[in-house]
Amino acid sequence: MKGPDLSVELAGLKLRNPVMPASGCFGFGREYAKYYPLNQLGAVVVKAVTRLPRQGNPTPRVAEVTGGMLNAIGLANPGLEAVLNHELPWLAKQDVPVIVNVAGAAVEEYVEVARSIADSGLAAAIELNVSCPNVKAGGISFGVDPGVLKNLVAEVKQVCRIPLFVKLTPNVTDIRELALAAQAGGADGLSLINTLIGMKIDLNSRRPVLANKIGGLSGPAVKPVAVRMVYETAQVVDIPIIGMGGIATGADAVEFIMAGASAVMVGTANFTNPLACPNIIAEIRDFMLENGIKSLDEIRGCAL
């Protein structure tokens, strides 16, 4: 008997399966390649890349909370040049599509980084991290104002010859407005959700645990919020959605697919278990076998 078909097509990208690591939780792939061959994944998604190297925020910049974690890494990355010269050429040899997460402090920075990555021929797609503070607008994130977001996406789209995914921030009143703005700007797909803003206070020191005071919440604690946002977004957009937020098992992934996601990303779960992604892929396959599902098309958005 032929096994279930886990492959998905995503804005023109053909993926072996719908599971990929989430940006920032997988470095540039080298560390987890020691645990399993990266070509088991649907794609590899790398840490946010900015024009220049960034040290990020002071430490401590990670903390555990019940059912999740907070991070305030601050977009630490080795910068565009190092990524183009050292990381992407290595990834290109791993027989797996590579999605590059791009961040910036101004529209021009996003445009420059996205153009260089797209033109390098070393990436299958770009994922625009629009949770970053817009320096010219007093540090308000690009992802919270529909007009600003649409303009950013449109500018990047002009120079981006490969599929462009826009990764939405959940720290907004109505995710649908932002999803529609990104679609109107020309996004080929959407990824959601990025982290929710949170805080933890240490009772001994009586101070916030993170040096940055606030940080992004991720892990199982955010999953119901993320499923709801994917569901709401799937009701209004025509472009494919990559769902994430607290996925740790195949059942979690299937839940996102039923809410309308075409594919999923796995972040924090990699820290709990380095084999999280391969395990989730196997569990999705088992679920399909047990339920007589031949292709993920049969269940995508079935809860809508």
Partner: protein
Amino acid sequence: MLLKIKENNQIAQNVWEITLAGQFPYESVQPGQFIMVRIGRGSEHVLRRPISIAAVTEERLTIVLRVVGEGTKWLSKQSVGEQLDVLGPLGRGFPLPPSNAKVLVVGGGIGSPPLYLLSSKLQALTPDLDLVLGFRTKSECFWTDRFSQLGNLVITTDDGSAGRAGNVLDAVEGMLQSGHKWDYVYACGPQPMLRALQQYFSETAVQGYVSLEERMACGVGACYGCVCRTKDDAFSKRICADGPVFDWNEVIL
């Protein structure tokens, strides 16, 4: 990897010693390396905790931990026979000195455990190993008998309840004044202690290695959570993957 708890005993105030057995690359462990231990059995705890390898044999691994929060408390309560989910050995350990070098090992409190494994390797290389271990008070001292079998051990406590009163730096200064000389210094402990040693020996030819700590998420180098600044690099180093042991000339403490 799932390792079985063979022993779990309290050895000092708030300090537990856990011995583990099972499939593990014991023979590849370098002194200074650590493991990431999973906490709990559900999805309440998503982050593993880094704990140094304190001792290793062909089929056993020993860790020593101080209970400071939920994770270490949970570990202290696990019974013999229960399994721990462990990743490792992780990180880069202490580079060993040439044989016959004069070596000083300095530990502060719960920074001492990895120095036990280190000292047991050093013992074979150097005839004259000086060890200085500092604790807050007598009830928090552990493994002093085991350490004293590996070299000339000096204990300090802040309140003078055991060994010499004062901190490890006072003891190191005293030893220098009475004619001790070292080619290599190895240290693990609170950052202020490491910084003080780094400064104290900064104008000398003494080669030093320090083991650093930071809150970790992945423990393997993928999240950039646990960084430290270095003097030369534009981009920070990851303590879990590029360390935890660094040449003291390399890092800004």
